[in-house]
Every structure is written in C-alpha cells, then in structure tokens.
C-alpha cells in the first residue's frame, strides 16, 4: 500500500520479538531506561488505565446534572474530579450526543486518543481504513459498527489534530431510570465514547 516497496523490512520484522528485546537490553545497558520503570509503564496501561474510567465519567454525567454542566464547560477539571488526568488527556473536551446530533472522534494524522479515560486506542482506531473514511463517510463507517442513525441526525466528526482530546458523552438509553451509577457505567462501551457505538440496554434491540 505504501509508496515504496523496495525496503527489506519484512525479513527484519519477522524476528521483531527478538529485535525489541535486543533494543531494550541495549537501552538498559546504555543507562537510558530503568527496566523496572518499563514494567510499571506496562502494568499501568494493561491494568489501571482503560475505558472503564471514561464509563464512570459518563455515568456520573447521566446522574448528576451539575457534573454534566461542569464536564461540558471544562472537561479537564471535571474529569480530574474523578481522578483521571495526565498524559494524552492534558486538555480534555467532552461532547454530548443528543437526539438530533451525533459526535464521532478520529485522528486522521496519527492516533491521538484520550488515554486517561479510554486507555490505549484499539487497532481499528489507529488503522488506515478508519482514519481515511471517518471524515468522509461517517455513516458508512458507523454502519460497519452496526450503528444506524436517523437520516436527519447531524453528524459531527472531530479530527484530533492538536493536543486536545475528545470524549463523546453518549445518550443515556431509555429504561434505565432505576439503575445505580455503577450499573449505568457498566452499560457504557468504549466505542460509545469514541462515537462509533450507542449505549444500549441488553435485549433492548
């Protein structure tokens, strides 16, 4: 697919596991990295940071109108109230879906994504198909996620080109009035906070 096909990278990448291990050893030998810090970094992004954080933000916004207002006005501060902040979420903007408007987030230039609330991005978000088509044919992309919007729903696609990170606040599904905040958070999917999914109650479709 690339412009150049004459690079010998395929054979080099065949033993990539070994190559990365060698690089880690080299950088450790040279004193640039602390191997214990690498282990903490890996553990952080595998077990501590992920879309359950964002789901708690969304659930809070559903049950607490004052929080929702703060979230839409200054998302960075509101999200920090729940303890989520920092790397790749230094400046947050929350955008709320409404019955007439759907929001969807992409990074056409690389893979910018709000790590503190959603964790590391899924492969499809970083892939050429999503990045190329989200801005041009959002309805076609949504259909591949099984999402069909009303034909008169406005679609706003946010291309994350600078250091502002976007979190979609999906609509609260009907029939969830009696649920606790925790139960509501359990309904919120990662994709609904990127804008490629809707929040649904099991069995409601």
């Amino acid at each position: 697919m690339g412009d150049d096909h004459d690079h010998p990278h395929h054979s080099e990448l065949a033993d990539i596991e070994q190559r990365v291990r060698a690089l880690e050893t080299l950088l450790t030998q040279k004193g640039y990295v602390d191997p214990a810090a690498l282990d903490v970094l890996i553990d952080t992004y595998q077990t501590k940071v992920g879309p359950r954080n964002g789901a708690r933000v969304v659930a809070r916004a559903w049950v607490d109108p004052a929080f929702r207002e703060r979230l839409l006005r200054d998302a960075t501060a509101a999200i920090a109230e729940l303890g989520y902040s920092g790397r790749q979420g230094e400046r947050m903007v929350a955008v709320a879906n409404t019955p007439g408007r759907h929001n969807m987030v992409v990074c056409t230039l690389c893979s910018c994504y709000p790590w503190p609330v959603l964790g590391l991005p899924p492969v499809w978000y970083k892939s050429a198909p999503y990045r190329s088509r989200a801005v041009r044919d959002p309805r076609g992309v949504l259909a591949e996620f099984g999402v069909r919007l009303e034909s008169d729903t406005e679609i706003r696609v946010w291309d994350s080109t600078a250091e502002v990170r976007y979190l979609v606040i999906p609509e609260r599904p009907p029939g969830t009035d009696g649920l606790t905040e925790e139960a509501l958070a359990a309904l919120v999917t990662r994709d609904s906070m990127i804008g490629t999914g809707l929040v649904q109650v099991a069995g409601s479709r």
Binding site: V33, I42, W124, A128, S132, R156, V164
Partner: protein, 219 residues
C-alpha cells in the same frame, strides 16, 4: 529532500473496511507493550519531543505497510540514531559499543505514576491577542509545507468557521523542527462536509479540527 508524510490519511480512498475488535484487546504480542513502554521511557529522557516523534513516524517510507507498533518501533529507532543516542551498529548488534550520550533524565519506576499524571500540557501564555473570534469565517492555508504539520491535506484551502478558541499552545510545526515551543493560538474550526467532499457529502455532516493560527487566514 522533500518532506513527505505517509500518515496523512483523511479522505483517502481504497484503504478497505474497518475491522473491529472486542473492547479488552489492547496488544497483540508481548513486544508491542514493550515498544510502547520503551517509547514512553525514552520520551521522558527529554532527548526529543512528541512532535519530533510524530514526524519520525510519519516519514517512515513503508508507514502503510507497518502495523501500529512497528511504526512506533521504527520511529524510536530513527530518533535514537538521529539524536546520536545509539549508533547504527549498536542497533544491528544489540550491544552497547560506545559510551552513552548524556540525557536530561532517566525515568525511575517510582516516578512513573507522577510523570503520567503530570503529562505534558501544551498550553502556554501568549504575548499577543488572538486574531480570530468564534463565528468568524476563515480559510485554511492551501500550500503544502516542507516539514511536519498538523494541517491535514483534506483540509487545505478550505473555508470554515471558528467555533472555539482553545488557548495558546506549543506549535507542533515549530516544535517538530527543533525551533522551540513557539506558542500560537489554537482554534476549533468547523467545515460543512460539502466544502470538503462536494456532491458526495451527506446533509448534516460537519467536520472540525484544531488549527493553530498560522494555518488560517480571514475569509
């Protein structure tokens, strides 16, 4: 040599359907999480900045043939050599052959949590007033530039409306070239899809991006 980004994908055709995955899947091999961690740890040394990282990745000639973390690995290897931290022979043999180049900081395990919580905010004070105000119509720069930029190709030379002033931020174009932070006003600019895609566009579809002031002129 002309600067070419292979990562500017917005609006390109023929790249196939989106392949989704379950929510829990993050890495597909152990080496991917190691590359992720190595990249963050090396970034913490201060030997380069995030905009230089993006520039190193997007100029990999085989960018589109690489998986995501292969792109990260390629960017890391390129920066290690370009900044003189590692010699090419060291990279190919995996053994240290020369003394280390001094770096600003070594990230220790006990510092990771605080470093991640702090992040790298890019907002900076400005010494001059913002040129545009919300509601104002602007046109994006039509010309290409010979360096890293965050003005996507599909948004060049297009007419849109300022929606929001986001503050003054480190200017990626300057920062990536090692020209300092050079903070500039940053705006959210909104475009009707018809301005971008003509007759292909569907009604009610709009696209926005975050634009530093030098990308824009009054329309």
């Amino acid at each position: 040599m002309r600067y070419v980004s292979h990562a500017d994908l917005g609006g390109r055709l023929g790249l196939g359907p989106v392949v989704t995955e379950p929510e829990g899947v993050m890495f597909h091999a152990a080496w991917e999480s190691r590359v992720h961690a190595l990249t963050l740890a090396m970034g913490a040394t201060g030997a380069w900045n995030l905009d230089m990282v993006r520039s190193a990745r997007e100029t990999l000639p085989d960018y589109l043939d690489r998986s995501y973390y292969e792109i990260w690995l390629g960017g890391l290897e390129k920066l290690l050599i370009d900044k003189g931290l590692v010699a090419p022979e060291e990279l190919s043999t995996g053994r240290a052959l020369q003394a280390a180049t001094p770096v600003g900081r070594i990230l220790k395990a006990e510092q990771v949590a605080a470093a991640l919580a702090r992040g790298s905010p890019t907002e900076r004070p400005s010494t001059h007033a913002a040129r545009f105000t919300p509601g104002q119509r602007v046109r994006t720069r039509a010309e290409t530039v010979g360096h890293h930029t965050r003005l996507p190709g599909y948004l060049r030379g297009k007419s849109g409306v300022i929606e929001r002033l986001l503050g003054s931020h480190v200017f990626a174009d300057s920062h990536a070239q090692g020209l300092g932070e050079d903070p500039r006003w940053l705006y959210t600019v909104v475009f009707d899809a018809a301005e971008l895609w003509g007759g292909e566009a569907t009604a009610g579809h709009r696209v926005s991006f975050d634009a530093w002031e030098p990308y824009l002129e009054a329309a």
